[in-house]
C-alpha cells in the first residue's frame, strides 16, 4: 500500500506546544481523510523545534468507489417530484433511472456509481483545510498573509507513493524537500519516502522524533553523572521542554562555584530550571545538590563545547549572584518585621477584599477557632498566622514567586540572637519547628497530587487560609464557572476536603463555614445562604475526590440525605455502605428496599396510602403469615441496633444490622401478598414495608443508590 508523508517546516515551534500539536495533527488527519472514505492502520507523528508531521504507512491509492441505489418517486408521479429526484440523484433525464416493481407498483431507482477520488487529490484538498484550522494555543500572521500558524511556516512537504504532491496554501512553499540542522546542514534535502527522510535527516544532524531526543538526553545525563559518581536529578517537565528546544541535543556538563551551595536548594534549582533549562546534579549519598549542572546545546561545537560550557557557567553565576544578593538581604532581618507588615497592608489581596494583611488577620481568627477541632497549640497557630504571608514581600520571593512559603520557612528556621544575654552567653533561637513548617505548608495541597500538611499547626492554618479564601470570594459573588476558576477556588475546596479527611479532623462544616463567613457579612439570612452554597460546593469536591479514588459517587448522595456535615463521618458512611452493597446480603437488601419503596409509591399514587397512614403502628395481633411475623420481629431488632450503631459511629455494625434483614425481606416478598383484600392485613403489610424503608434510612437514603 502507498505511503503518505507530510512535513510542515517552520520557524521554531515553542517546546511546550510540540507534543499536543502531534496529537492534533493526527486527529485532524483521521477526521478529514476518514470522512473522504480513506482507511489505514499505521500512522506515525513527529515534531521538533522546526518541524511537525505525520506519515501514514498504508493508504490506498484512491478512495473506495461509491455504489449506491437511490429510491425515487413512483412511475407517473407529478413532474415536480420527478425533477427533484433527478437533481438529488444527479441524473440528466429520467431515462437514466431504472424502473423497479414492488407490491405497490412501479417506481424509479437511480443507480449511482462514482469512482473514488485519487488519494493525492483528496490530500490536496484536505491538507490546506487542516493547516488553516489547526488549533495552536497561540498563533500569528506573517508578512502580508492571512494564514495563522504558530510561527512563520516555510514549506509543506507532501509525498504520496514516492511522488511529490503540491499543496496550495498562499504564501507557503510546497516542495518535496526538507532542511537539516540550522547550522550544521542547512542545505536542502529532497524527500522521497519516510524512511529516506529519517535517514537523511539524522545524517544532517536532526533527530526528528521527540521520544528519541528524550531517550538520548536521559541516557547522556545518566552516563555523565555515573562517570563522576554523581546522580542526575530527574525532572520530567524539564526533560520534555529541553527535548523540544533542540534538534541535535549535545550534553554540556558544567560546573558552578561551590560557594553558591549556601543558597537554599530550591533557589538554585529554580534558577537553573526556569531561567536556564538546566538539570541539577546531586550527591547520591547526601542527596544534596552538587556544584554542577547539565545543559543540552543544539550544536556539536568545534571546540567540543568548551566555549558553550564556559558561557553557560557565567550566565548561571550572574543569576545566582543576583539570587544571593536577594537572599542575603532577606536574611538580615527576622521573618516578622513591622516593615514587612506595613508592606502587606499595601498589597491588595482583591479590590473588594482588602489587603493581604487583612486576610492574615481573618485567617488568624479563624485558625484560633479551628484549634478546637485540630488540637493545635493556639500560641503557635497565632505565631504561624502572623508569619505565613511575610515572605511575599521578601526580595527572594519577589524574584522567584514560585518559592512563596518555602522562603518563609527557610527564614523562620534560621537561628537568630534574641537580644537577651544569659549566664551561658547571648541566647539565640529560631521559630518553633511547627511554626516554620506551617509557613510553608499552609499553601498545601497545591494540586491533586501535592501532599497534604500533617503537622497540627500547618493543618489548622491550611484549613483557615483556604476556608477564608472560599468565604471571601463567595461573599463578593466571585465563583468558579464551568470554564474558569481564576482564583483557584476549586483547588482550595478540594484542599479543605483532603486536609480534613487525611487528618481525620472532625469538624462541623456548618459551624466552620459560619466562622469563615462572619467577617464578610452581618446579615444572618445572607450568611446562611452563603453557608449552604459553600457546603454544597465542598460536597461537590468531595464527590470528585471520591470518584477519583474509585468510589461510587452515588453513594455520597445516599448518605448526604441525612444532614450530616462532618466529612470524616460522611466518608465512613460511604465506605461502610460500599462494603455492604458488595456483599450478596447487601445487594439483595437493596433490591428488597427498592421493591418496598415502589409498592409504597404506587399505593400512594393510587390514593390508597398516605403519609398519615404510614405513621400508624403495626398491629402485631393481626399478623397472619409466618413470613410477615418474622419480618416484624427482625425489624424490631434491626432498627434499634442500626440506630445505636450509627449513634456510636460504627457504620459497619449498622450495615450489618440492616443486612440481617435480607432473609426475612426476601421471604416476605416470596410468601406474602401485600395487597390483600382484607384491609386490616393490607394496612399491616404496608406498615411493615414503611418500617423497612425507615430502617434503611437510618444509615443512608437507598433511593439515591443506582442499580
Amino acid at each position: 500500500m502507498p505511503e503518505l508523508f507530510i512535513e510542515l517546516f517552520s520557524e521554531e515551534i515553542p517546546a511546550r506546544m510540540q507534543k499536543r500539536a502531534e496529537e492534533d495533527l493526527d486527529k485532524l488527519i483521521h477526521e478529514k481523510l476518514g470522512a473522504r472514505g480513506l482507511k489505514w492502520t499505521v500512522s506515525t507523528t513527529f515534531s521538533s523545534p522546526r518541524r511537525l508531521g505525520v506519515c501514514i504507512a498504508d493508504l490506498p491509492a484512491k478512495a473506495a468507489d461509491i455504489n449506491e441505489e437511490k429510491k425515487g418517486p413512483r412511475v407517473g408521479a407529478p413532474d415536480q417530484a420527478i425533477q427533484g429526484f433527478l437533481r438529488s440523484a444527479g441524473l440528466a433525464s429520467i431515462d437514466q433511472a431504472q424502473v423497479v416493481e414492488d407490491k405497490k407498483g412501479a417506481f424509479y431507482v437511480a443507480r449511482i456509481e462514482r469512482a473514488g477520488a485519487a488519494t493525492s487529490a483528496i490530500v490536496q484538498e484536505v491538507l490546506p483545510e487542516i493547516i488553516r484550522q489547526f488549533p495552536w494555543p497561540k498563533s500569528m500572521r506573517s508578512q502580508s498573509s492571512d494564514l495563522q500558524w504558530v510561527r512563520p511556516l516555510h514549506n509543506i512537504c507532501c509525498v504520496f507513493d514516492g511522488r511529490e504532491v503540491k499543496i496550495d496554501v498562499v504564501g507557503v512553499g510546497s516542495e518535496a524537500a526538507t532542511w537539516g540542522h540550522r547550522f550544521h546542514a542547512p542545505a536542502k534535502i529532497a524527500v522521497k519516502s519516510f524512511e529516506q527522510w529519517d535517514r537523511d535527516l539524522r545524517a544532517a544532524k536532526v533527530i526528528p522524533f521527540g521520544g528519541n531526543r528524550k531517550d538520548y538526553i536521559v541516557e547522556a545525563s545518566k552516563k555523565a553523572c555515573a562517570e563522576r559518581g554523581l546522580e542526575w536529578v530527574e525532572d520530567p517537565g524539564l526533560l520534555e521542554e529541553v527535548a523540544g528546544l533542540c534538534e541535535w541535543p549535545q550534553i554540556i556538563f558544567g560546573d558552578m562555584d561551590p560557594a553558591f551551595l549556601d543558597l537554599p536548594a530550591e533557589v538554585i534549582r529554580l534558577s537553573m530550571r526556569t531561567h536556564q533549562k538546566y538539570f541539577a546534579v546531586r550527591d547520591p549519598k547526601t542527596k544534596k545538590l552538587a556544584p554542577h549542572f547539565i545543559a543540552f546545546a543544539n550544536v556539536q561545537a568545534k571546540d567540543g563545547g568548551k566555549a558553550i560550557a564556559a558561557g553557560n557557567r557565567r550566565v548561571l553565576s550572574a543569576r545566582l549572584n543576583d539570587a544571593r544578593f536577594f537572599w542575603e538581604t532577606d536574611k538580615k532581618t527576622p521573618l516578622f518585621t513591622e516593615e514587612r507588615k506595613e508592606k502587606l497592608k499595601k498589597i491588595v489581596f482583591h479590590q473588594k477584599l482588602g489587603s493581604v494583611w487583612d486576610k492574615v488577620e481573618r485567617v488568624k481568627a479563624l485558625a484560633v477557632e479551628l484549634c478546637a477541632v485540630t488540637g493545635a497549640d493556639k500560641e503557635q497557630v497565632i505565631r504561624a498566622a502572623d508569619l505565613c504571608k511575610m515572605d511575599l514581600v521578601t526580595e527572594t520571593v519577589g524574584e522567584f514567586p514560585e518559592l512563596q512559603g518555602r522562603i518563609g520557612r527557610e527564614l523562620a528556621s534560621l537561628i537568630r540572637p534574641t537580644g537577651e544575654v544569659t549566664s551561658k552567653g547571648a541566647s539565640a533561637v529560631s521559630e518553633h519547628d511547627s511554626v516554620a513548617v506551617a509557613v510553608e505548608d499552609h499553601y498545601r495541597p497545591l494540586g491533586p497530587n501535592d501532599r497534604v500538611p500533617t503537622d497540627k499547626v500547618a493543618v489548622t492554618l491550611a484549613l483557615a487560609d483556604k476556608l477564608d479564601t472560599l468565604a471571601a470570594f463567595w461573599s463578593i459573588d466571585e465563583r468558579p464557572t464551568g470554564s474558569s476558576d481564576a482564583y483557584g477556588l476549586r483547588r482550595a475546596a478540594l484542599g479543605v476536603v483532603r486536609v480534613l479527611l487525611a487528618g481525620n479532623e472532625r469538624a462541623s462544616l456548618n459551624k466552620t463555614l459560619l466562622g469563615a463567613l462572619r467577617p464578610f457579612t452581618t446579615d444572618d439570612g445572607e450568611v446562611m445562604r452563603l453557608r449552604n452554597f459553600l457546603r454544597e460546593f465542598l460536597f461537590e469536591r468531595l464527590k470528585v475526590q471520591l470518584r477519583d479514588s474509585g468510589k461510587r459517587h452515588d453513594l455520597l448522595d445516599a448518605v448526604l440525605k441525612g444532614q450530616d456535615d462532618d466529612l470524616v463521618r460522611i466518608v465512613a458512611r460511604v465506605e461502610a455502605l460500599d462494603a455492604v452493597l458488595k456483599t450478596e446480603d447487601g445487594a439483595n437488601l437493596l433490591a428488597g428496599y427498592k421493591r418496598a419503596a415502589n409498592i409504597l409509591a404506587a399505593e400512594e399514587k393510587k390514593g390508597k396510602w398516605s403519609a398519615g397512614e404510614a405513621r400508624g403502628q403495626v398491629d402485631a395481633a393481626k399478623l397472619a403469615e409466618p413470613a410477615e411475623k418474622a419480618l416484624h420481629e427482625a425489624l424490631g431488632k434491626a432498627l434499634p441496633a442500626a440506630r445505636a450503631a450509627v449513634e456510636r459511629e460504627d457504620f459497619a455494625a449498622a450495615m450489618k444490622a440492616l443486612s440481617s434483614l435480607r432473609a426475612p425481606v426476601d421471604a416476605f416478598f416470596e410468601k406474602v401478598l401485600v395487597n390483600d383484600s382484607q384491609e386490616q392485613l393490607r394496612r399491616n403489610r404496608l406498615l411493615l414495608l414503611t418500617r423497612l424503608v425507615e430502617a434503611t434510612s437510618a444509615v443512608a437514603d437507598f433511593s439515591k443508590i443506582e442499580g
Binding site: 515553542p14 510561527r151 512563520p152 558561557g311 550572574a318
Partner: protein, 292 residues
C-alpha cells in the same frame, strides 16, 4: 571593517548599523524623549501601523528608573542602550538575516549555542503584542525577536519583524566581561581608551539617587496629569506626532513615580490604563492617516 570582529562596545554598534544599512534599513538616530524601550520610538510603534513598507534601525537609549542600582550591580542599569531593527513586511528570511548579524559581531554559531526560545512579547502600556522568541547564546538572552501582531490595540497588516539587541549584555558576552562598567567603550588600543564606566558610572550613581530619593513625586504627578491632558488636546487637534511625544512623557513620568514607590498596585493598573488609552488614540489616528 565588515569582517573584522568588534573590539569594543562602539564597534558592536557600528557593526550592527553597517550590517542593517546593507539590508536596506534607514539608520535613524535615537529619539529625543525619554523612553523605557526602543520599541517606543515612533519609528517602531507608529511605523508598524499602516500598509506602507518600512525598514529602519537605530540605537535607543532606554531609561528604566526602577532598575537603578547606584552603579553597584554588575549588570543592572537605569540607563542602557538597545539596538532596534524593524522591517515591514518581515522578510521571509529574517531569521537568517538576524543570525548573520550575530556572525558579524563575532558569534560563530558552530562554536556557540544559539537558540530561539519561546517568548511572547507584550507591552500593555501601548496595547501592543507579538509572538516570537528570546534568542539565547550559550544560555544568555541576547536579543528579543518579535513578529508584531497588534499595536495600540489594532491589528498590524502587513506584519513587521522587530529585533531588539540588548547592547551592553551582548557586548559583555562577546568580550567576556563580567561587569558592565569594565566594557571597553572605544578602541582599547586608542590614545584615549575609555570604558563604559568612565562614561556612565557617575551617571548611574546620580540618576539612581534622583530616581529613588530626589525626584519630586507631587510635581511628577502634576506633570503626568498635564502631559495626559496635552496629549488628549493634541489628538483632538489631529496632531498625532506631538500627541505621541506627550504620551511618551506621561509614560516616563509614571515610571519615575513608580520608582519612588508611591504607586499602589491598584493605582498602577489605572496609570497603565491611562497611558494605554493615549497610545491607542495615537495609534488609531496614525493608522488612519497612513491608510488614507
Amino acid at each position: 571593517m565588515a569582517n573584522d570582529a568588534p573590539r569594543c562596545f562602539q564597534d558592536v554598534i557600528l557593526t550592527l548599523q553597517t550590517y542593517w544599512a546593507e539590508q536596506g534599513c534607514a539608520i535613524l538616530q535615537p529619539y529625543d524623549t525619554e523612553v523605557g524601550a526602543g520599541t517606543l520610538h515612533p519609528a517602531t510603534t507608529l511605523r508598524a501601523l499602516g500598509s506602507k513598507p518600512w525598514r529602519a534601525a537605530y540605537v535607543q537609549p532606554s531609561r528604566r528608573p526602577k532598575d537603578g542600582r547606584y552603579g553597584e550591580n554588575p549588570n543592572r542599569l537605569q540607563h542602557y542602550y538597545q539596538f532596534q531593527v524593524i522591517l515591514k513586511p518581515n522578510p521571509p528570511n529574517l531569521q537568517d538575516l538576524y543570525l548573520q548579524s550575530l556572525v558579524r559581531i563575532g558569534i560563530d554559531p558552530l562554536l556557540h549555542d544559539i537558540r530561539f526560545v519561546e517568548d511572547d512579547w507584550e507591552n500593555p502600556t501601548v496595547g501592543a503584542w507579538g509572538l516570537g522568541w528570546e534568542v539565547w547564546c550559550d544560555g544568555m538572552e541576547v536579543s528579543q525577536y518579535t513578529y508584531f501582531q497588534q499595536v495600540g490595540g489594532l491589528d498590524v497588516r502587513p506584519v513587521s519583524g522587530e529585533l531588539t539587541y540588548g547592547l551592553e549584555r551582548l557586548a559583555m558576552y562577546v568580550f567576556g566581561v563580567d561587569r558592565v562598567y569594565d566594557l571597553p567603550f572605544n578602541d582599547p588600543a586608542s590614545a584615549t581608551p575609555l570604558t563604559y564606566g568612565d562614561i556612565f558610572l557617575e551617571n548611574e550613581k546620580q540618576q539612581s539617587r534622583f530616581n529613588f530619593e530626589l525626584s519630586d513625586a507631587e510635581q511628577n504627578l502634576r506633570w503626568f496629569t498635564d502631559a495626559e491632558a496635552t496629549a488628549k488636546r493634541l489628538l483632538e487637534a489631529g496632531a498625532v506626532l506631538p500627541a505621541f511625544d506627550y504620551t511618551l512623557k506621561a509614560s516616563h513620568l509614571f515610571n519615575l513615580l513608580d520608582a519612588r514607590g508611591v504607586v499602589s498596585p491598584t493605582e498602577r493598573q489605572s496609570f497603565i490604563a491611562r497611558v494605554r488609552d493615549l497610545a491607542k488614540g495615537c495609534a488609531s489616528a496614525w493608522a488612519e492617516s497612513q491608510n488614507a
